[in-house]
């Protein structure tokens, strides 16, 4: 069965400026995310795993457009959403460069024939271009930007890591959950209360407690409230950024189970961001491993664990302590040194400074992310050369 892509990220880049001196001049860039591409299919959970500083949270924040991407495209349900939150002039330049000028050149060269080499949004937009011309496509793209923004916000929601700081301490739970419902005009008056009750019941919070404040709840309950808020707008994609990391072990499994139940019930799509490979393994259908702003490996879960190809993935798997004392003497791969700074990432493959199997080429040439098997992508010059038996 053909899987439907709900979200597609192409070459996403997010660099943060470092400012210094009296005039706050830009003296460097933190290359937090540096060219990341992936697709998310409807109803699946894509796990995004990596250590601190790998850029996984920045990917999430940029997808949500809490950060404006430096470059790249973010496509949601066959519409390019990249320019939705740009200032008008920048949006215009983006559209001109990405579509109008490019399509004009294509048309001069190949006329209708260009359609065959395009796919996804490019194809869709080129068809509009052929039918309605340059200005027609431009009008299509820039019309109703406020509506487009609103529907984007509705479709993409987030669950944050820290259930203590992500809920406004001065708002009652009812208002926290209802805020989005009201802003999007999804319900009025009594309907709102009814909707909030349903949502709270759905996440295991007694609806009568909706008039309480966040501090009256435990960490696990607060996380449930955060989940109810994320689901209030019936989003297509939910980004869970370390959603269970701050919770106690016995509470963590409750929340993981709840998220899985809700996914089934509401046909949700999750992007599950975490540093914990064990948790990611449990919840994900496919897993993407990130290192220092790059995606180093992406594969279906089973494939990734049976056949990890990137040395970093292998090392990460071997580093996790297994809760079974009988497995304690297994040989683990211990990486040397620390993660380098994303301000000055190493040349070539970014992992080469810590890689046990790096060769000369690794410090010179950056390996591209290539599909080595259907659905299994890896960015390494020597995939599979680091072995480890669990």
């Amino acid at each position: 069965m053909e899987k439907k892509t709900v979200l597609k990220v192409e070459n996403l880049v997010k660099h943060f400026p470092i400012r210094a001196g009296v005039f706050r001049r830009i003296v460097g860039w933190v290359k937090a995310v540096d060219g990341v591409s992936f697709e998310v299919y409807e109803g699946e959970t894509l796990g995004l795993v990596g250590e601190s500083g790998c850029g996984k949270t920045t990917v999430g924040m940029t997808l949500l457009r809490l950060y404006e991407p430096t470059s790249g495209r973010i496509i949601v349900e066959d519409e390019d959403t990249t320019y939705y939150f740009m200032p008008a002039l920048r949006a215009r330049n983006y559209i001109k460069k990405t579509y109008l000028d490019r399509f004009e050149k294509l048309y001069r060269e190949k006329k209708d024939g260009a359609l065959e080499e395009l796919d996804g949004v490019d194809k869709k937009y080129y068809e509009i271009f052929l039918k309605e011309g340059r200005s027609g496509l431009y009008r299509y793209l820039v019309s109703n930007i406020p509506d487009k923004r609103r529907s984007f916000r509705r479709n993409v929601q987030i669950i944050f890591q820290d259930p203590y700081s992500s809920l406004d301490p001065r708002m009652r739970v009812k208002n926290i959950v209802a805020e989005g419902i009201k802003a999007h005009g999804l319900a009025q008056g009594e309907e709102v209360i009814k909707r909030v009750s349903e949502l709270l019941t759905g996440v295991g919070i007694i609806p009568e407690h909706m008039y309480r404040f966040p501090h009256e709840f435990s960490g696990g309950q607060r996380q449930r409230i955060g989940i109810a808020r994320a689901l209030a707008l019936q989003p297509k994609v939910v980004i869970a950024d370390e959603a269970v990391a701050a919770l106690d072990v016995s509470i963590r499994s409750q929340i993981i189970n709840l998220m899985e139940e809700l996914q089934e019930r509401h046909k949700l799509t999750y992007i599950f961001i975490s540093h914990d490979l064990s948790v990611v393994k449990h919840v994900s259908d496919r897993i993407a491993v990130m290192y220092l702003g790059k995606m180093v490996e992406l594969a279906p879960k089973k494939e990734l664990f049976e056949n990890p190809l990137h040395p970093y993935t292998v090392a990460l798997m071997s580093a996790i302590p297994i809760p079974d004392p009988n497995k304690r003497n297994k040989k683990r791969i211990i990486l040397q040194g620390d993660v380098p700074s994303p301000i000055n990432p190493p040349k070539g493959c970014r992992f080469h400074t810590r890689c046990p199997v790096a060769k000369e080429i690794c410090s010179e040439k950056e390996p591209p992310l290539v599909e080595v098997k259907p659905g299994h992508f890896v960015a390494c010059h020597f995939p599979g050369s680091l072995k480890w038996n669990s």
């Binding site: 250590e51 696990g220 990460l316 297994i322």
Partner: protein, 333 residues
């Protein structure tokens, strides 16, 4: 490891540490007893508020003014630490019993260099002069795997990465060759690949120095990796206590069993995670009877009314549960 026939180096007997807060009395540690044998690793595992950190701070007598050790004994090399005057305790603290903490950035003093902080302990406890102490500090930094120790010794904590800072803390703790090292969540703030480095280093150093280690953590994986014996804490009590393979293979307390079954595993396929219902109890208001009963799937009326005592369910394997027999035959995958 057969530790039964040896003399324990540390014995904690019926320790009770309470905190007197504005909201009421927090019975953070409420009758905790265990032994530590020379050279072994005891893992203390529990969730937030279980009292695991307060236990270690009580041993070191490092509680803040609200905390008070109500009763109990902490016997170290034949002496009760709780009865020692402060100046005697200072000779033991950092010298014979050392401690490392979760967040080295908080535990290290930001305005002194790494070298100064290590040298302070060496000069205080071993009476070495400054030149000698500096040499020893450089050696220690090299030993814990810090590259370019001659340069690092003059750097400040913020100039080191998280993993390096934790290494520096370990160097400081080991500077006086303690016979006991207490590690309170030493790897929790670190990335897994760095955690693997630090755990490896700690195992190596423990062997080399022959010290006993108390490893406090919430991570069952770390316990399985490093501990010889385990004490599982819940709401101020040790609820299960025994040899590590026993505890993981045949847990005889419902809390341990629930905890072990609720962890996502890298090595086993799981359908749905088992979970412990409810929430961690409020330390101001622990439930009556068995403190775990509101969350326990095996609880009966007796559990609500009466507090269970520690019983030896198997040789050297203790559980604080009336109905531990119900767990017989249940094995964690």
């Amino acid at each position: 490891m057969m530790s039964v026939n040896r003399e324990p180096i540390l014995q904690v007997k019926n320790l009770k540490t309470y905190f007197y807060t504005e909201d009421g009395v927090v019975r953070a540690v409420d009758g905790v007893s265990f032994e530590l044998y020379p050279g072994e690793t005891l893992g203390i595992v529990g969730e937030s508020g279980s009292g695991k950190s307060v236990t270690s701070l009580s041993i070191m007598r490092l509680l803040d003014e609200k905390g008070k050790i109500e009763s109990g004994e902490i016997i170290f090399k034949g002496r009760d630490l709780l009865k020692l005057p402060e100046h005697e305790m200072r000779k033991i603290r950092g010298n014979e019993i050392a401690m490392i903490f979760q967040e080295p950035m908080v535990a290290l003093n930001p305005v002194y260099t790494i070298g100064d902080q290590i040298m302070e302990a060496i000069m205080l406890h071993q009476g070495a002069d400054e030149k000698k102490a500096r040499e020893m500090a450089v050696d220690l930094l090299r030993r814990v795997g810090i590259p370019e120790p001659e340069k690092r010794v003059d750097q400040y904590p913020h100039q080191l990465s998280g993993g390096m800072r934790q290494r520096a803390m370990i160097a400081m703790a080991l500077s006086c060759r303690p016979s006991i090292l207490i590690a309170d969540e030493p790897t929790t703030a670190l990335d897994v690949t760095i955690q693997a480095q630090i755990l490896d280093l700690m195992k190596e150093l423990q062997e080399e120095y022959g010290m006993a280690l108390i490893m406090i953590t919430h991570d069952m994986g770390v316990i399985a990796e490093i501990a010889d014996r385990v004490a599982v804490m819940y709401a101020g009590h040790i609820v299960e206590y025994g040899e590590v393979h026993e505890i993981f293979k045949r847990p005889r307390h419902p809390y341990t069993y629930g905890l072990l079954s609720s962890i996502p595993r890298l090595d086993v396929e799981q359908e749905k995670l088992k979970s412990i219902p409810g929430t961690v109890p409020d330390p101001l208001n622990f439930p009556t009877g068995c403190r775990f009963h509101p969350r326990c799937e095996f609880a009966e009326d007796r559990c609500r009314e009466e507090e269970p005592e520690m019983v030896e369910v198997l040789p050297d394997h203790y559980s604080r549960c009336f109905f531990w027999k119900k767990l017989e035959g249940l094995e964690v995958k």
